[in-house]
């Protein structure tokens, strides 16, 4: 796993708890653009350069419907600051979001998959906006400079020099990690995020849910808790979860979740991000992710397909039967991807039933006449 990227994801989750309200007068003004001859202007210049590279990256997802949907959420949260914020969806299956001081936001597709509804997504985006509104990166930059922290400057210099040479997205992650936020800043971003959520009408409990879900997912993985970046760099997560729930309970108020809107907004890329998740082959974690999503959408054919693939690819005793059950559930839905039939071919071949495999292949080719792997499947059937 990309440790840096994951660390950034944690920025979005760390220490979410409510406390005193932040007055808007302390936020950066809408339309803010620092003079280029200031330290802040210099910082913006660096980020503008990184953003130019990001714009042309092959990893950026440019689907219009998805980007329009996310823009709506950003504007609903950011209101007057909306024109100053630009969101890029990066096709990377891990959970991550980040915010640069010039208003460039990154959301990774793994985060989109893991947000059950729009309120959970808003919890992350609101937190990231908190960093922007309070100019946390500039604060860290000045802090590093005042402390003569040459290491931080060196890291920044290397990162900027590398942009365009060693990979846009990787270097953006490096840039982000150069300015890891302080614990106080994370708390402040959480407070602001929760406030933005409430003002926009989202239920605040969603912030606690995201944290809870991540804890449950990591527990199903193969990385020891003591080795996990999450648990190594943050206090007891259970304690934090309790604080978040308490904050949400005190807040009361808004209830909106936006489950259907979220599902519709992601429709064009759902299959893509499910496939990318499966490529990680983190079977236990993916199973948790699909189960959670299926709890909200029990008839979702794509999710049942994904769950079936987890079992087929893991291939432990009993998994092929589990996979077939999941594929059967998928095929009960109109949304089952044609590849469900392909997967059935693979399982039937594994079980030595060529007649059933042939029938599944026929169904696959009816559902996907131009399947690129038709020849390969026929080859397997003939062997």
């Amino acid at each position: 796993m990309n440790r840096r990227g994951f660390g950034c994801a944690l920025c979005a989750l760390a220490a979410m708890r409510a406390a005193g309200a932040q007055t808007l007068s302390e936020f950066v003004e809408p339309g803010h653009r620092p003079p280029p001859d200031t330290d802040e202007g210099g910082l913006w210049g660096l980020m503008d350069r990184a953003e130019r590279d990001l714009k042309t990256s092959r990893f950026v997802v440019r689907d219009r419907a998805l980007n329009a949907y996310l823009r709506e959420v950003v504007c609903r949260l950011g209101k007057d600051h909306c024109p100053d914020l630009r969101l890029y969806v990066v096709r990377t299956p891990q959970f991550n979001a980040s915010m640069a001081p010039n208003g460039m936001m990154q959301v990774w597709t793994g985060l989109l998959l893991r947000c059950v509804d729009e309120a959970q997504l808003a919890a992350i985006l609101g937190h990231e906006m908190g960093h922007y509104l309070r100019r946390h990166t500039l604060e860290r930059y000045r802090d590093a400079r005042d402390k003569s922290n040459f290491g931080a400057f060196l890291s920044l210099g290397l990162a900027v020099a590398g942009v365009g040479l060693a990979g846009t997205v990787a270097n953006l992650a490096l840039l982000a990690s150069t300015f890891a936020y302080s614990r106080e800043q994370e708390h402040e971003a959480d407070r602001i995020g929760l406030e933005l959520m409430a003002k926009a009408g989202y239920t605040r409990i969603a912030a606690a849910e995201v944290w809870e879900q991540l804890i449950a997912e990591l527990a199903a993985g193969t990385v020891e808790r003591s080795q996990s970046v999450l648990f190594a760099t943050h206090p007891e997560p259970e304690e934090r979860l309790g604080a978040l729930r308490a904050a949400a309970a005190q807040a009361g108020g808004a209830e909106e979740r936006g489950l259907e809107r979220h599902r519709t907004g992601l429709a064009a890329v759902r299959e893509l991000i499910v496939r990318d998740e499966l490529s990680l082959r983190q079977y236990g974690r993916s199973e948790v992710v699909f189960d959670r999503l299926l709890a909200q959408a029990p008839g979702d054919g794509l999710l049942w397909y994904g769950k079936g693939e987890v079992y087929r690819l893991r291939a432990e005793p009993g998994d092929l039967a589990r996979a077939m059950e999941a594929y059967a559930r998928a095929l009960e839905s109109r949304e089952a991807p044609p590849d469900t039939h392909r997967s059935i071919v693979m399982v039937e071949l594994k079980q030595g039933d060529k007649a059933r495999a042939q029938a599944a292949l026929d169904a696959y080719l009816r559902a996907k006449p131009d399947a690129a792997d038709a020849g390969a499947l026929r080859m397997l059937l003939e062997q």
Binding site: M1, S279, R281, A376
Partner: protein
């Protein structure tokens, strides 16, 4: 300054890890299990970023072209993992199973590549049966865009013998380097024989 020193040391360490040995254009033993006859001078890496039952050759450097030989991946082992990564912090890698069919091996390479190169832009196509090293094998084409945004084209050729995976995967930058050296890769594949413990009974 301490960080600067540490950085320079790290750079030197990584650079020093990649020791090259010249491979002459004559019949060569690869890990004593594969015999091939290259037509050009290659460079064999003693400790590449690829960790596993592999041997790695290159002509112009790993970023431009890479030839990975699979020298008998046993059941339960990954195809390869990143050598210089903190594995304790990574999810367990997917592994090869001796019962896998060629399409499953293709899927395994896809997942291995996705993790190794940290990319979502990888695809494989045109899987077909071929004859290799005097036995039945398979072959498919690959395309990978790494975090450096460079697109690399490739060909994977493999066979399972005695429950182990043997094969070769050539990758080159799609612009120029792949097509230029593809005939050399085909020559190597055509010359391949399994030897030693891998020799077909």
């Amino acid at each position: 300054m301490i960080k600067l020193s540490a950085l320079l040391f790290a750079v030197a360490l990584v650079a020093g890890c990649a020791a090259y040995t010249l491979v002459a254009p004559q019949r060569q033993n690869v890990a004593d299990v594969i015999s091939v006859e290259p037509g050009m001078k290659w460079n064999k890496m003693s400790q590449s970023a690829y960790e596993g039952h592999v041997e790695v050759w290159t002509l112009d450097g790993l970023t431009l072209n890479t030839l990975v030989f699979f020298t008998g991946v046993p059941d339960g082992e990954p195809l390869f993992v990143p050598r210089f990564a903190d594995k304790a912090r990574m999810e367990k890698p997917p592994v090869f199973r001796s019962t896998m069919n060629p399409l499953e091996i293709q899927e395994l390479l896809h997942a291995t590549v996705a993790r190794f190169f940290r990319t979502t832009l990888a695809e494989e196509r045109n899987l077909r049966a071929v004859s290799i090293a005097g036995g039945r094998g398979f072959r498919f084409e690959t395309r990978v865009v790494g975090r450096d945004e460079v697109e690399r084209a490739g060909v994977f050729v493999g066979t399972v013998a005695g429950g182990k995976l043997y094969g070769a995967w050539f990758q080159g930058a799609r612009l120029h380097y792949f097509e230029r050296y593809l005939p050399e890769f085909e020559r190597i594949v055509a010359s391949a024989q399994l030897t030693g413990e891998a020799a077909r009974k």
